[in-house]
């Protein structure tokens, strides 16, 4: 048995489209029960009956994070609050936070999505699953908790931080799988080695689910090698419940986005017109299976593309390419668009470098410059010329990737702030004049 829900996961594209249309009609009718969508439909002269095909979806305007904020907290809720049982909220760094509420049915469907993802990467009820996500408002905690319990795995809600304690749990409880932020996975591995624990020999770890921040293929390989595991990329966002939206299968080539759960569109972030498969754009999602708070054409700000072609795993749901970053963490420097992930991709190729790095953009004289600080790994060499050659080679490869020359500074191990939550990779100190 390879599939959690074979009928849904391997449904033919035609069947899947018909299935989506039925659910879309339901979702739209549900959405207009909320004050926000009621007004959107009214203002645009739309009625739920106008949605008769999947293409009709494009008649509906986009929903943005700002819409969620300006209708804080309950403007998009479509059922009486009495029928809602859970509220999650994302950190509001600017303005109001965003709030998502769920009914008991929504939570059950969400748990099923997460269980489906975990089953897909080979996890079973015999596994011991340790979740290193923050619990509380952050959806990576409870989202994986309920999913792993639905799967039947023994679930350890270790929550974030306290690395030594995480390691004690891993060894004492025979943890076989972690859910972990990629920057923290390498940190955890480093601490294990420092403590004289070889995770490949001294633990039962075989799988990690990594997500919550964009990471490169090189970083995945490093995590797999350091921990002796298979690492699977997972994607979720609180507006779309949380984890379980899209997940890699054993082919490790793209993340299947569960199209019984959402409709995915990829659009040009400027023109908002759809882009063809294979081309990068902003991902726009419509929920198909959420009664408390349906979202229609929600602009995620995440940049990705649809991988063309079939997946050898037999699942028919579309695959998303590795995330290229968010349209809002793109750095524009000297007219060049740069994503932190591009820098990481290069740095991770060098075993003499550690996993911790920091990009600083600053104004020097009249010029904006990029400084990249990266920690050395334990392989520090006494050989001076080798160090300089290393600096030169890294700079050269960065230049090829970024199309501008950054200043590179090698720093000692442990001298950049350690990252136990989502890693802060960019400091923009530019003076705006």
């Amino acid at each position: 048995m390879m599939y959690w829900q074979k009928d849904i996961e391997t449904m033919s594209r035609d069947q899947l489209s018909a299935f989506q249309l039925e659910r879309l009609k339901w979702s739209v009718r549900q959405a207009v029960k909320s004050p926000f969508y009621k007004e959107v439909f009214h203002k645009n002269g739309l009625s739920p009956d106008d949605i008769q095909s999947l293409d009709d979806l494009r008649k509906i305007p986009f929903t943005t994070k700002d819409d969620l904020r300006s209708h804080y907290p309950f403007g998009l809720v479509a059922i009486p609050l009495q029928q809602c049982v859970r509220l999650h909220s994302s950190s509001g760094t600017t303005g109001n936070p965003t709030v998502v509420v769920h009914s008991a049915r929504d939570l059950s469907e969400w748990a099923n999505q997460v269980a489906r993802c975990m089953y897909m990467v080979g996890l079973r009820d015999t596994d011991v699953f340790q979740n290193t996500s923050g619990y509380g408002m952050f959806t990576g905690g409870l989202g994986f908790q309920y999913g792993a319990e639905r799967l039947g795995a023994l679930t350890v809600p270790a929550a974030a931080g306290n690395t030594k304690r995480q390691i004690k749990f891993i060894t004492d409880f025979g943890t076989t799988c972690l859910h972990i932020i990629p920057s923290y996975a390498t940190r955890l591995a480093e601490v294990m080695y420092e403590m004289g624990i070889d995770p490949r020999r001294d633990t039962k770890l075989h799988t990690v689910c990594i997500g919550a921040e964009p990471h490169s293929e090189e970083q995945r390989k490093r995590i797999e090698q350091l921990l002796g595991v298979k690492a699977y990329n997972c994607f979720g966002m609180s507006e779309m419940n949380g984890p379980g939206v899209a997940f890699e299968c054993p082919a490790q080539n793209g993340l299947h986005i569960w199209e019984d759960n959402v409709i995915v569109e990829i659009v040009d972030p400027v023109t908002l017109e759809p882009v063809p498969d294979g081309e990068t754009g902003e991902m726009v999602l419509t929920t198909l299976n959420r009664e408390a708070m349906p979202l229609l054409r929600y602009r995620t700000r995440d940049l990705t593309s649809i991988l063309p072609g079939d997946c050898p795993c037999g699942r028919t749901h579309k695959r998303l390419a590795r995330f290229k970053g968010r349209s809002d963490d793109m750095i524009i420097l000297k007219g060049v668009n740069i994503f932190p992930i591009q820098v990481e991709k290069i740095l991770m190729k060098f075993p003499k470098l550690g996993s911790n790095y920091l990009i600083t953009i600053e104004t020097v004289g009249n010029n904006d410059e990029m400084l990249i600080e990266v920690e050395l790994s334990d392989l520090f060499t006494d050989d001076y010329t080798a160090l300089q050659r290393l600096s030169k080679e890294i700079t050269r490869q960065l230049k090829d990737e970024l199309l501008l020359t950054p200043r590179l500074r090698l720093v000692g191990k442990g001298s950049l702030p350690t990252q136990e939550g989502k890693a802060v990779r960019v400091k923009d100190l530019r003076k705006l004049c």
């Binding site: 006494d382 001076y384 160090l387 090698l410 442990g414």
Partner: protein, 142 residues
């Protein structure tokens, strides 16, 4: 013939060197010789200490990028020409010096050398009967 040298990666930042030295001082580790090479961004501090293993472990435990390197410790006299004589032996045997620093010990001079070819360097020392120090000699230095 060789002694363990500790190389420490130092960011070029105010107070960094002192920080490392104070760490060693607190553990009562004696520095016998030291040299700093620098570029604009970082430096390498190279030191010979009385207990390299303990010092190395201490640095690692405190998350300092450091490594242990084998270097030669040649003993020469302090009279004119003895330095030239010792290095001449290596040069004529085709052995290059990557870096070098020295310290004096009574009426002797100790040259700490890193060469491009350790085996050839050992052969030069044997053939010319040059004086040298071993790890155990360092422990005994007062």
């Amino acid at each position: 013939m060789t002694v363990n040298q500790i190389s420490i990666f130092l960011e070029n930042k105010y107070g960094k060197l002192c920080e490392v030295l104070e760490l060693l001082s607190a553990a009562n580790i004696r520095i016998i010789a030291a040299s700093v090479a620098d570029t604009s961004d970082y430096g390498i501090l190279r030191i010979i200490v009385n207990d390299p293993q303990q010092a190395y472990k201490l640095l690692k435990d405190n998350n300092v990028s450091a490594n242990l390197t084998d270097v030669l410790a040649i003993v020469t006299g302090s009279e004119a020409g003895s330095f030239a004589h010792a290095l001449g032996c290596f040069t004529r045997a085709g052995v290059s010096i990557e870096y070098m620093y020295c310290f004096s010990l009574g009426d002797k001079a100790i040259l700490i050398l890193r060469t491009n070819n350790r085996d050839a360097a050992r052969e030069v020392i044997r053939r010319h009967d040059l004086g040298y120090l071993c790890e155990s000699d360092l422990m005994k230095l007062r």
